[in-house]
């Protein structure tokens, strides 16, 4: 005899998770998207027991704190670039204060995980923001340079060219032409 089953993956996971958390007397709130808010500190013995038990069901606790911190660094960098009141703040000071770690620690960790340095990442994100402003706003390059705290248009253009290999105006031409072709289709 055969029986046929249909199951909902999310319900299964949630149910297993709930049973295990309750079994270990852990106060929790399931936030969805693979995130559980633990409301009290769990002793490490309980945490390792929980980890073992969940593993049997193919559920892994991601304990990669480093990846989480890297994401926080990235978020802080983007916030910094996009906030006019923060453009004059020194990034190393800002990140160290915001994330409560020394800049040296953050910087090493970041390079290990992302294959690039914080400095290069900031430049990349600034240039990405400049690109976004070039294609989506009426701001002139001078205004964009000012908004991103470059000392001059020349400085922005040079850094743009260093990062992308093309000039801001070539970038603008290419994107405009692509759009023209796309609308013709």
């Amino acid at each position: 005899m055969k029986i046929f089953i249909k199951f909902d993956f999310n319900t299964v996971c949630r149910k297993v998770l709930e049973e295990k958390l309750i079994k270990h007397n852990i106060k929790y709130r399931i936030l969805g998207f693979g995130e559980v808010d633990v409301l009290e500190r769990i002793p490490s013995s309980v945490l390792s027991a929980l980890t073992e038990e969940l593993k049997e069901y193919g559920i892994d606790i991601i304990e990669n704190q480093k990846s989480v911190l890297v994401q926080k660094i990235k978020d802080a960098i983007i916030e910094m670039i996009h906030s006019p009141e923060l453009v004059n703040v020194k990034s190393s000071v800002y990140l160290a204060e915001k994330l409560s770690h020394s800049y040296g620690y953050l910087s090493n960790l970041f390079s290990d995980i992302t294959y690039t340095s914080i400095e290069n990442y900031i430049i990349l994100q600034k240039i990405e923001y400049a690109k976004q402003l070039i294609v989506s706003s009426d701001l002139s390059l001078t205004e964009i340079a000012f908004q991103l705290n470059y000392s001059s248009v020349a400085h922005l253009s040079t850094q743009f060219k260093n990062v992308t290999g093309i000039t801001p105006s070539a970038f603008q031409r290419i994107i405009t032409k692509r759009r023209e072709i796309a609308t013709k289709k």
Binding site: Y115, T116, E128, V135, I174, I175, K177
Partner: protein
């Protein structure tokens, strides 16, 4: 979702170039998986298979017999299935006009073929590192233009 390597494909008719390319990636910090094809027809046959594992970055040599890099680029750009692939063009030309045209057609990266191995390694490493940032930081691919 969270995979720990970058999948790379190269289409190039020159056997030596294919070998140098594969060697360059073996020495890199970022984990990569590299597949090569001998010409544009072979490449498109692979990509057009609905079950094909699509690469993160596709390197196209401009001058290939049967089907050249630009013809491949045009075909790839017509199919939404390939929207997430970053396309890099290998060319021997450095004419500004030609470069802009290639970008307009939808290439993300334009590489003047380096003549020595050290430069090749550096260039490929730059491509993969920047692509990695696009991939992991959710940057807008429409604005991804890189000339090396």
């Amino acid at each position: 979702m969270d995979k720990d390597y970058i999948h790379i494909i190269l289409a190039d008719d020159d056997e030596d170039d294919r070998m140098l390319f594969t060697d360059a990636f073996e020495e890199m910090k970022i984990n990569t998986k590299v597949n090569t094809f001998n010409d544009g027809v072979e490449l498109m046959d692979y990509l057009n298979n609905p079950n094909a594992v699509l690469p993160n970055v596709l390197f196209l040599d401009l001058n290939m017999p049967k089907k050249n890099g630009i013809e491949c680029l045009n075909e790839i750009k017509k199919d939404d299935r390939f929207n997430d692939i970053a396309i890099a063009i290998f060319s021997t030309s450095s004419s500004e006009e030609h470069i802009e045209e290639t970008f307009v057609l939808g290439a993300n990266i334009y590489i003047k073929k380096p003549s020595d191995f050290t430069t090749l390694k550096k260039v490929l490493s730059d491509v993969v590192t920047i692509n990695w940032q696009y991939y992991t930081s959710g940057l807008n691919r429409d604005n991804f233009l890189l000339r090396l």
